[in-house]
Symmetry: C2
Subunit: 236 residues, 2 copies
DNA sequence: CAGTATCCGATGCGATACTG
DNA sequence: CAGTATCGCATCGGATACTG
């Protein structure tokens, strides 16, 4: 195993060598989605070890895909994609579209994870159709253990630190909308496999609270970037 | 290491799991380029072991990306991409384009390989501008060892088995055009890093024989599919 | 030609603990 | 918070030889 590489000058081979190592594409995906701090990245990649994430970031920096910035003197470092990294977007998007179209849904729905789902929802939520006051939405996933069951999204357009907050513990505010469903259903909605309306009609999703929030859920709830890709594989 | 997977429902993660294993993307690339027989694939992937190629083909078949056909009763099997496999083309192309734009040329030119280059040239050669008679073109790579140095491309539009033949031993025909250069130069031309004209003018490529063949070389010599991507990384 | 079978070595990477 | 350090194992895949 003298050579880890493919020994080919073909650009596809060269790119595969670099992008094919475990976790690399997902680190880039997280950066493309806007994460920039170490522990923010870890949150989107729960199963990566800190050592490996650090290694990947260094490799990507060495490659010219990632730029590490040490803001201020004292501030903790942040990571951003360079132009080369930004140009990986079409690669990631085409991979994701292909995955959505051709990989078994069952396989995806075996990898249910409320923290990943909520984290994704947090960053894709669209505050525009929401009122200007602070809005609190509680998600309650039936059948999950305590500690995984309850989530709060707090949207405050006037907030200075960031518009959408995600909590796992009761923030204490009055709740404007309760969303009660199974994690599987909510994930299927997020992935575009079903819709809020379908799930509601089937009684698998229950919305209680401010009627305007409930009726406009399809508008403020962002979906996965791949949700509009049509599945080509039957859900078995 | 209970789980080899990423444990994420995200389609990018799902696709990475499948496409990220070593050699997989390159097997798909070969199939996209038109190879369909086992040893034809091996030719485009010289460093893969037969065992691993077999394994990858089985995995891809299982995934629904590859279809194995056993033509006739007796015939040896062939492999084709399914619709799902064909739809990997944008993934491969975007990876290749990115590689061409952003990965060090030096890295590519470290992976020089005359058999891969000639094999690629064989399948991308454009016979249209060539005369209707049989044409033999000999490539002579200076500085390579005997057995790697001499290559013959035989183009015969009237041939029944295939228009372009590649030989490593003298086919015995009269040679219509001799191409004398270094492997590095020819590879750089193939990759679009330099041109036939540039290399000729610099004396790094010498064409002797039928003047029409020589002058039209830029037209019949196909280039890498990524040759028109502009390098963004300086050649150091 | 089209693969299987077998073996074994390197190393990637996961787990955990620890530090400035 | 943002990593480094260390350890050890599983497993991937490379090499080689063999078969219908």
């Amino acid at each position: 195993m003298a050579d880890r590489g493919y020994g080919q000058f073909c650009p596809v081979a060269m790119a595969s060598e670099v992008l094919g190592t475990r976790w690399t594409m997902l680190v880039v995906r997280e950066l493309l989605c806007g994460s920039s701090r170490f522990n923010e990245l870890r949150r989107g990649l729960p199963r990566i070890s800190p050592a490996l994430l650090s290694k990947r970031l260094n490799e990507l920096e060495e490659l010219g895909v990632v730029e590490r910035r040490c803001d201020g003197e004292r501030g903790s470092p942040t990571y951003y994609l360079t132009e080369a990294g930004e140009e990986l977007r079409p690669v990631i998007m085409s991979m994701g579209s292909w995955g959505q179209r051709w990989l078994e849904t069952q396989l995806s729905l075996k990898n249910l994870d409320p923290s990943l789902l909520m984290w994704d929802m947090r960053r894709n939520l669209n505050p525009t159709p929401l009122p200007s006051r602070r809005v609190t939405i509680q998600f309650l996933y039936q059948g999950l253990t305590r500690g995984q069951r309850e989530w709060w999204l707090i949207v405050d357009k006037a907030a200075q630190h960031g518009v959408v907050d995600l909590c796992m513990t009761d923030p204490g505010h009055d709740v404007d909308l309760y969303v009660v469903t199974e994690l599987r259903t909510m994930t299927a909605i997020w992935m575009g496999i079903t819709t809020v309306r379908e799930a509601s009609d089937a009684g698998r999703l229950r919305l209680t609270g401010t009627p305007e929030l409930a009726s406009r859920m399809e508008h403020w709830l962002g979906l996965s970037p791949f949700a509009q890709e049509t599945k080509q594989v039957t859900v078995r």
